[in-house]
């Protein structure tokens, strides 16, 4: 079927490629783990993975911290008939083109851009500053996207909690804060985990945001992969990097799945 032809096959080919080697302009079709050895030997390749992991973790944590209160406010404080429209509004930019969104942040953060101009106006700085082309810009761009995603998953989780859990907790003597800590928060952990997992997967594999906002000084894993393809046409190295990235994602996936199952027991 389709998937086999265009999904599984590429992986098989990629797997084979990753074991080959490229010298000069020629492919050496000889199996070896040289590419994988290279990955650990060449610091810039390995560093791109640690960079990616750092950024992804940071983004996931910040996004959860920002999104949870918003989802909670939307689910609890906003009257029912406004909820729908409030939620649609909260995730509207979610549907803009990924590319365009990153570009928009460039507008906001760049030298002479909106924030720089605002800081000049209120006199916090005396000359235009640039906040783009570094890791924080990448993180801001990512957080913007994933706050919306997490708001959605956490909101869905909060809404499907039966109202009686809260009532029962109060009935047994818990005030609002203890109701939240002992009952609401543990019961919304699945929503947080699902959202966090999605964030992790999408964030670590994304090329566009770091490429536009991150500048050239620090590369993330997808950028490194892209570099191998675009500049050097080194498919074997690119393949090996892609497979390493996939392995990391699969490990996180298995950990999540295991955690969710454990929780159910």
């Amino acid at each position: 079927m389709w998937t086999v032809a265009f999904f599984v096959l590429p992986f098989v080919i990629m797997g084979v490629y990753s074991l080959w080697k490229r010298v000069g302009n020629k492919l050496i079709t000889e199996f070896s783990f040289g590419n994988y050895e290279n990955f650990f030997a060449k610091s810039f390749l390995f560093e791109s993975l640690t960079n990616s992991l750092e950024v992804t973790l940071l983004v996931t944590v910040i996004s959860i911290l920002l999104a949870y209160p918003l989802a909670y406010i939307l689910a609890e404080k906003v009257p029912d008939r406004w909820q729908r429209i409030a939620l649609i509004m909260a995730i509207l930019p979610f549907w803009t083109s990924y590319l365009v969104r990153s570009y928009s942040w460039l507008l906001v953060l760049s030298e002479g851009g909106v924030i720089s101009n605002f800081l000049l106006e209120i006199g916090l700085t005396t000359e235009p500053i640039s906040m783009a082309n570094n890791r924080s810009a990448t993180v801001i761009g990512f957080v913007h996207f994933f706050v919306m995603l997490l708001t959605l998953t956490i909101f869905a989780n909060l809404k499907q909690l039966p109202k009686n859990y809260r009532k029962a907790a109060q009935d047994l003597g818990a005030g609002p804060i203890r109701t939240f800590i002992y009952v609401i928060l543990p019961l919304t952990l699945p929503g947080i985990m699902v959202g966090a997992f999605l964030t992790f997967v999408l964030c670590i594999g994304d090329y566009i945001t770091p490429a536009i906002l991150g500048g050239k000084r620090e590369l993330l894993m997808p950028q490194t992969i892209m570099l191998q393809i675009e500049r050097r046409s080194d498919f074997p190295t690119a393949s090996s990097l892609a497979l390493i990235l996939m392995t990391v994602v699969s490990m996180v996936y298995l950990a999540c799945a295991r955690w969710l199952k454990l929780d159910r027991l």
Partner: protein, 260 residues
């Protein structure tokens, strides 16, 4: 105390909404910029950058390409997704668990990796890069989504109605055409619209497996290389507007379905 807490919540929500909307507002606002750079001070409104982008042959061509790829690849995705869901939900197929897992697996894999895999495969097989290959790529990413949406809507309730139709003498194709498809049409429609939205926005696959005929996001990418430009804002605002319209259509359809 109660008042204060609500006020804090309200303020927080407003601030976060501000954060969420800031880039979009800036994008749209400066697409009406008069001068050549989309940074403050704003000196519009002017429609000249919209004119510029609509009279740019390459951009318009990319726009048409995008529409064609989005519609066709989504149509293929929905049909394949429906057939897969139908056969998995209605017939006892061996290894159905594995097939289901395989069908949904691309959802968890980064587009970049899919794109690369496709590129290498096309190269190996000697398939030239074109709009057609972009379409194939988009079906790869949208098929799992369509399958998941349609499969989730094929409940036991529907199975019983189909059984009733068979009982009344309908053959397999009549059941599918007269019963399953009409009953599932909100799901099919939702899957189609969502696919169109994703395909419309998708960049990395289109970028990797195309050469001369490009889609709009790829064109925007090359425009980005030239730095900040109100024309890019105009194109971006346009893309945003189209996506929003699609989402509202989708929402409207789903909402009607819930009402029914």
């Amino acid at each position: 105390m109660f008042k204060f807490r609500n006020l804090a919540a309200f303020t927080y929500a407003i601030l976060l909404y501000g954060f969420i909307f800031l880039p979009v507002v800036v994008l749209v606002l400066f697409s009406f910029q008069e001068s050549r750079v989309p940074i403050p001070p704003f000196n519009g409104p002017s429609l000249k950058w919209y004119h510029a982008f609509l009279s740019d042959g390459r951009v318009v061509e990319a726009l048409y390409n995008s529409i064609a790829v989005a519609l066709l690849s989504s149509l293929v995705s929905v049909i394949l997704g429906f057939l897969a869901a139908y056969s998995l939900a209605r017939h006892n197929i061996r290894y159905s668990g594995i097939i289901q897992g395989l069908l949904t697996a691309p959802l968890t894999v980064s587009y970049l990796i899919i794109a690369m895999g496709l590129l290498i495969t096309f190269n190996t097989l000697g398939i030239p890069k074109s709009l057609f290959t972009i379409g194939i790529g988009h079906v790869v990413i949208n098929l799992p989504l369509c399958f998941a949406i349609i499969y989730s809507q094929m409940g036991a309730h529907q199975a019983n109605i189909e059984r009733a139709a068979r009982d009344l003498g309908a053959n397999e194709w009549q059941v599918m055409g007269l019963i399953s498809v009409p009953m599932l049409w909100p799901a099919l429609f939702a899957a189609f619209f969502l696919s169109v939205t994703f395909s419309w926005d998708e960049f990395i696959i289109a970028f990797m497996v195309s050469r001369f005929d490009v889609t709009l996001p790829v064109e925007i990418w090359s425009m980005l290389r030239t730095g900040l430009n109100p024309k890019t804002n105009a194109v971006g605002s346009f893309v945003f507007l189209v996506s929003v319209v699609f989402i509202f259509l989708l929402d409207f359809i789903l909402f009607r379905k819930i009402k029914n």
